[in-house]
Amino acid sequence: MRVALFLTCVNDTLYPDTGRAVVALLSRLGVDVDFPMGQTCCGQAHYNTGYRHEAEPLARHFADVFRGYDAIVTPSGSCGAMVRELYPRMGERARAEGRGDSLAAALAPVVHRTYELTEFLVDVLGVTDVGACYPHRVTYHPTCHGLRGLGLGDRPRRLLEAVRGLELVELPGADECCGFGGTFALKNAEVSAAMGADKVRNAESTGAEVLCAADNSCLMHIGGTMSRLRTGMRPVHIAEILASTQEEAAA
């Protein structure tokens, strides 16, 4: 099986540790993962801000770069949802605008081969115990596009529950949006910040040291709020927890 890592532009630029964690985790599970250097951005920000036509070349580029892989794995619920949910919609829309099937046909091969990381682990590799050790108190925030878009369900929870040393505590109001929402965070900064502050207060109330999620964009917003509010909690991507092993934990 040829497996590609679709890291996302945000992770590539700002969160390389998450990328390294995915590579370490998948290698440990016997998956030889490739990072196609041509990858850039899936076009989600363009699409969701109302620039669908500008997102189309990015989607075509994505399909070009990742064509030929059997599985495309991404540590981002929202970018995963972009490819799986919105690429087909972009194709339909182009067709409705009288531009034929070319976009839909170009994107089709990558749509069903794209998996969010926890889906890939649980559904494709069939593992929930990835042999990780992370001796910390952790609360899990299911991000909106993972929860309601991709329907990740309890996959992340099952993976976390199998991590040795990890104490998983329930996050009150877990399924409520953290308030990031891409350009929403800038266009409606006050409401976004209020949502973020409520999310952080809920996280603090659990007594956890770490808030874990499967999307660094949301964690950037939550983490930025945590440090501004001087909470002492830290945001950690689920890949980094699942990649942790006994040796590192001891160190």
Binding site: G19, T40, C41, E54, V191
Partner: protein
């Protein structure tokens, strides 16, 4: 606070005040979380909820596709049953029709059943201008009317008020409108309800004209349906001699069989009730029973324009349950008034810019009043994909394009104020089409990382006003990949 939404500022500006109003935040948080949990329980009881939802979606889509046919059928049925049907292209025409009908009776006051359509067209204000006083009889609408306030929720328009505030409004204002509030009124719910009951009773018994909306209109029989939970509606629908209904054209359903679906999904979605307490249905007029004259005003007011939009038309499925408001994290913090319309919350953010167009500041800002979290779509009993419509409307605002306005095909120009964003999106698109350019940018960011401020000036304050910036790493992932596993990929 004024009674109209004219000249509202953009959503973010209007929301700012609400975000910092601790009382309002508390009222909204308590109310929305309570009803949210109740709805989830009520819906969870039904094993066939997903199928009911799908059935509701299909009935509405079918009806909307054949709306011309069903509206004519409805007109024939209503006329045959002794009613009179009027067609109103817009709010002004609907107001003219209703005002003329009321004046023809010689009356100068009307009692009203809670109705979104009459709120939408500003009927009370139009009647007032012609010397006709309209009395709202729904408890929450009464609170809003007495308080010279504006509705902030579809189902519970006074959701932004707590008991103490309501008591104060009753004590201060009831006397000017009729029977004053009882001496020593407290904020106990039973006392407040009793005060409203006494105040309203004299209105019901005196009124000769009733004005209502309709939750559903059955084409095959010409039957109108009003769903309410206080009984005030039943009073207004049966006691007056003349009854005037104003309803959006999308409220028609083909047959009674179709009602079966919505009378299950609407109460559970809106008030979390298994069965609606007062469901009134009437067909034209009947001798010796109920109103002797019945008029139905069918309102377009932008609906046909919305119907012409492939993506946006799904908003016309809405049955006004307000489940989307109750789960919306943005509504919970911004409150209903920030949406600048009688339709607040997620559904308002997709309805208002379609019914009114995107020319005003508030309407152009509404499609962005969402984090696209999808909670609204998840609870919608007719499966309106609100995030999809929001993104579609963002496209219309940012890029312009073809649309239908007042029945005419037009090509909209992009809204003002999006030039910088457009340039940024184009620049980002250029970079993302060129992996080397992206890499150069990443490296530049990494090399200058020690110089990066923790907060940003100017527009960047939108981020760093409340959040610290993430630290830029020493090297982007792709550099690490190439350094440690370099050459393996061949530079694809």
């Amino acid at each position: 606070m004024s009674g109209t939404f004219v000249g509202m500022p953009a959503f973010p500006v209007a929301a700012r005040e609400a975000v910092h109003d601790a009382t309002l935040r508390g009222n909204l948080r308590h109310a929305t979380h309570t009803i949210r949990a109740k709805r989830a329980r009520a819906v969870g009881e039904l094993s066939d909820w997903a199928r009911l939802r799908e059935a509701g979606r299909r009935i509405k889509d079918h009806t909307l596709r054949h709306l011309d046919r069903y509206l004519v059928q409805l007109e024939e049925s209503v006329t045959a049953a002794g009613g009179t049907v009027h067609w109103a292209a817009d709010a002004a025409e609907a107001n003219r029709i209703v005002t003329a009908l009321v004046k023809a009776t010689g009356e100068s006051e009307v009692v009203k059943v809670k109705s979104m359509a009459t709120q939408e067209i500003g009927l009370n204000e139009a009647l007032e201008a012609e010397g006709v006083r309209a009395y709202e009889t729904d408890l929450a609408e009464l609170i809003v009317q007495l308080g010279k306030d504006r509705p902030s929720h579809i189902l519970v328009p006074a959701i932004h008020r707590n008991r103490g505030e309501i008591r104060d409004v009753f004590v201060r204002e009831m006397g000017a409108w009729g029977r004053p509030a009882p001496e020593g009124l407290t904020d106990a719910p039973a006392e407040l309800a009793e005060a409203a009951r006494l105040h309203l009773r004299e209105k019901f018994l005196r009124a000769k004209v009733g004005v209502c909306g309709a939750n559903f209109m059955v084409a095959e029989t010409g039957t109108l349906v009003v769903v309410e939970s206080e009984g005030n509606g039943r009073m207004c629908l049966t006691l007056p001699e003349t009854l005037i209904a104003v309803a959006g054209i999308e409220k028609v359903v083909p047959s009674w069989r179709d009602l079966e679906v919505f009378l299950q999904t609407l109460p559970r979605s809106s008030t979390a009730e298994r069965m609606n307490p007062y469901t009134s249905t009437w067909t034209g007029t009947a001798d010796e029973d109920g109103p002797r004259a019945f008029h139905l005003v069918l309102l377009d007011n932008g609906r046909t324009d919305a119907l012409a939009d492939r993506v946006g038309r799904q908003a016309l499925r809405c049955i006004r349950c307000s489940a989307c408001l109750n789960v919306c994290p943005v509504y919970e913090r911004a409150g209903g008034h920030a949406y600048g319309s009688v339709y607040p919350g997620p559904i308002g953010a997709v309805l208002s810019p379609q019914l009114r167009g995107t020319a005003s500041e508030i309407d152009a800002s509404l499609p962005y009043a969402s984090s696209l979290c999808g909670a609204c779509y998840e609870v919608c009993p007719v499966a309106i994909d609100i995030p999809e419509v929001l993104v579609h409307l963002r496209e219309r605002v940012a890029q312009g394009g073809p649309a239908v306005r007042e029945g005419n095909r037009v090509v909209l120009r992009p809204a003002r104020g999006h030039a910088a964003e457009r340039a940024a999106m184009r620049a980002a698109g250029w970079v993302f089409a060129r992996p080397r350019a992206l890499r150069a940018g990443q490296r530049l960011a990494s090399r200058t990382r020690r110089l990066h401020p923790r907060t940003l000036p100017g527009p960047g304050r939108a981020w760093s006003g409340a959040r610290d910036l993430p630290a830029v790493p020493v090297e982007p992932f792709r550099d690490w990949w190439q350094r440690t596993r370099g050459g393996k990929d061949g530079g694809r």
